[in-house]
């Protein structure tokens, strides 16, 4: 497993430049969106997640979802023009899953306006992403912690 300060990193995923979210390619031209290990650690135990209603268009900068823990509230930010396809009802019903398995517990599936490869061009992946991810963990002194089941 690749990690920095105990924060797991997956080279096959796509990330924004602050490593708040991860994005993965689905086979049907859609994208899955979730929170990184860094984000779930900063938030702490997540108590509520709400996703934009399926079918709604989201422009760049318009959040996909909102997340609340006891000490943090904020958006799941959005970096591409897309339409919300669905929310992960398992996570919506049991938000703690984001703290247990942040890369397994996806939050929403979206359909990008552009073809997938073009939409993914705004994200970082692979070694470039790993460097930035680790840099953020070190610079902001983020020590990742997972909740257990």
């Amino acid at each position: 497993m690749t990690e920095c300060n105990g924060c797991e990193f997956k080279p096959e995923l796509y990330y924004d430049d602050e490593f708040q979210i991860w994005v993965s390619k689905e086979e049907d031209g859609k994208l899955k969106v979730g929170m990184t290990d860094l984000s779930q650690s900063i938030a702490g135990k997540i108590m509520h997640v709400r996703v934009r209603k399926p079918g709604t268009k989201r422009a760049v900068g318009r959040p996909v979802a909102t997340v609340e823990s006891a000490k943090w509230a904020g958006p799941i930010p959005n970096f591409i023009n897309c339409v919300i396809d669905t929310g992960n009802e398992k996570v919506l019903e049991n938000p703690k899953l984001l703290n247990i398995d942040p890369y397994g517990a996806w939050i929403a599936v979206v359909t990008p306006e552009l073809p997938v490869e073009e939409a993914l061009a705004v994200f970082l992946t692979g070694e470039e992403a790993r460097k930035g991810y680790c840099q953020r963990a070190y610079d902001d002194d983020i020590q990742c912690e997972r909740l257990s089941l």
Binding site: R52, K53, R62, P63, E68, K71
Partner: protein, 133 residues
């Protein structure tokens, strides 16, 4: 869609939070920023306006050490979360001298603008919702 409570379907709105609470009532100082963060994450255009004792939260050194609950997160960090979510912070200049904030340099960098009562009046008139803490 089985559970509509899990899905957000609100219109975009302009929200003004008038923050009059300050260090004498620390337990009132975290929630306004927390709520502001959520509203901003739900596409609202959120402004928090510090006036009366609330301006003290905009004074350097105050919010760095203030917590709403024992062992809780610092108020300055709640402010950072709100700003990260897109909330704008205003401080009321006429309220400052009474709280011994004499110079713009005494104000924390997190404040977007130091403005007069007229701007507060404009913000109130333009807002869809006004909330006071």
């Amino acid at each position: 869609m089985a559970n509509t409570e899990f899905y957000i379907d609100n219109d975009e709105q302009t929200i003004l939070i008038i923050m009059t609470s300050g260090p004498s009532t620390p337990s009132r100082c975290a929630t306004p920023f927390f709520l502001g963060s959520i509203l901003a994450a739900m596409d609202s255009d959120v402004s928090i306006f510090f006036t009366m004792e609330g301006v003290l939260l905009a004074k350097k050194g105050i919010s760095d050490d203030l917590v709403a609950m024992e062992g809780g997160k610092k108020i300055i960090d709640f402010m950072h979360d709100a700003k990260e979510a897109g909330v704008k912070l205003y401080a009321c200049s006429p309220a400052m001298p009474g709280y011994k904030i004499d110079h713009a340099e005494d104000v924390i960098d997190e404040i977007d603008e130091i403005v007069g009562g007229g701007v507060l009046a404009d913000l109130i008139l333009e807002a869809d919702k006004v909330i006071t803490f």
